[in-house]
Symmetry: C2
Subunit: 232 residues, 2 copies
Amino acid sequence: MWKQIAEELATEIHDRVYADVGRLPSENELARRFGVNRHTLRQAVAALAQQGLVAVEQGKGAFIQQEMVDYALSRRTRFSENLLRQGLLPSKQLLAAREVPATERAARHLKLRRGTRVLLAEMLDEANGDPIALATAYYPAARFAGLLELLNRGTETTQILKHFGVADYLRASSRITTQMPTDQLAQLLRQPKTRPVLCVESVDVDLEGVPIKYGETVFVGDRVQLVVGSDA
Amino acid sequence: MWKQIAEELATEIHDRVYADVGRLPSENELARRFGVNRHTLRQAVAALAQQGLVAVEQGKGAFIQQEMVDYALSRRTRFSENLLRQGLLPSKQLLAAREVPATERAARHLKLRRGTRVLLAEMLDEANGDPIALATAYYPAARFAGLLELLNRGTETTQILKHFGVADYLRASSRITTQMPTDQLAQLLRQPKTRPVLCVESVDVDLEGVPIKYGETVFVGDRVQLVVGSDA
DNA sequence: ACTGATTTGTGCGTATGTATC
DNA sequence: TGATACATACGCACAAATCAG
C-alpha cells in the first residue's frame, strides 16, 4: 500500500506537479486523497525522504528536493559546461581505465574492425556531489596511446584530446533509450531500483569527421532531463 | 527466479545483444548460463513470448521480435516521415479532441496566459499497427479555431496546419525524461507495467518563431529509440 | 530419402517455500 | 500448531520439429 503511494508521489514529483509550490500537500490532505490512514501515508513520505526526493521539516512540511539537471544534447556536448551553465558544480570519479578489445558496438561506431584494441574509461559524473550519470567511453587505442595515464592523473577530457591534436570535437549522433537499472547500477547511481534510467549512446567525431569516441552513458532518470535544441 | 531471468533477457534484447543473430541461444545454453533447470528457463522465455519480445518455434529457437523504431528528433520532426523512412507503416488513432483551459505548462510553452483556451488532441501513434506512443498536443484555440473538426475527419496534421496558413513548422526544443507508466497507460501502449517509457516534451514553432504546438509524447520504451543528429 | 545432431515441447515425479484456514 | 492448496524449482525421459550432411 504505502509503496504504491510512494511510487505515485515519486512520479508526481518527477512530473513537477509540486515544482511551483516546492512542497507536498499536508499529510492530512494526502491521507484523505489516497483514502488511507495518516500513518500509512507517513510511511510513504518517509520512503521518499529516504530516497532524497523530499526533506520533511517538523511543523513546516515536506519540501521537494529534486533539482532537475538539464543535460543539453547539442553538437557541442560538454559535461562540465552543461552543469556550470545551471550553476551546478561538476565533478567526476574515474572508476575504471583499461585497454580492452572493442565490443561489437564500440567497433561499429568507431569504424574499427571487431576486436581492435580500444581504451575504456568509466566515469561517475556528479552534480554538486550527487551522482547523475555513469559514463563509459571507448577511444581507439592506436590513436590515443597514453590517454589512460592522463585520465588517471585527473586531466580534463578536453585537455587530453587537445594533447592528441584534437583541437575540437563534435557530437555526431546520440541514441536515447530507457531501461531499468541493474541492482549494481542503482547502487552506484544512488537511486531506487524501481526507477528507470536514461541511456544515451553517443559518437563524437573530430573536425574531419573521424570518430574519436564512442560513449554509453546512463543517467539517473529522476534527476536528469535531456534537452535537445534549447533555443527556447 | 524465472522473473529475474526474464527481466535480464528482456534487458539484453533491448540492448540488441542478439540483434545480429536474430534469436536467443538455445534453452540448454541459457539454462546452463543462469544455472537453472530448463523448465525454469522455459518459463522465463514463455513470459518473453507473452510480452511479444520473442517468438518461439519448435525445433528452431526463440526469435527476437523486437523491431526498434528509430524516432528522429530533428528540427523537422514529423511522425509519418520518421516511420516511412524505416519502411514502417504509420497510423494514428484520435483518442480525444476537445477545447480546454491551458495547463500551467502548456501555457508557459505556448507563451499564453494561464487558463487561455487551447485545443487538446490525444493521439495513439502506431507503427505497423503496434502502438509506439501516446501523443498529447496543445494548440492555441484563438489561432486554430476549427482544428478539432478537421482532426476528427482524419486530416493529416501537416495539412491541417497549412489550412491555417502555417506553410512549415520547426521543432524548437525537446525535453526527454523517463517514467514508469501508469497501469492505464501501459494497457493503452500494450506494454508491461514493469518496463519504463520515454517522455518527450516538445514545442513546435512556425517560421516566425511563434509557438504553434506544445506536445507531451510518451513512447514505448522497449520499442522506441530517440535519435538526435543521425548524420551517421 | 535417410541419419544423426540440435532444439523445442511435454509428461511425470519430487521437493520446497508460502499463503490461508 | 497442523492441514491444505498453490506456485516454484529440479531431474529425467521422450516426442516432435528442424537442419546439415
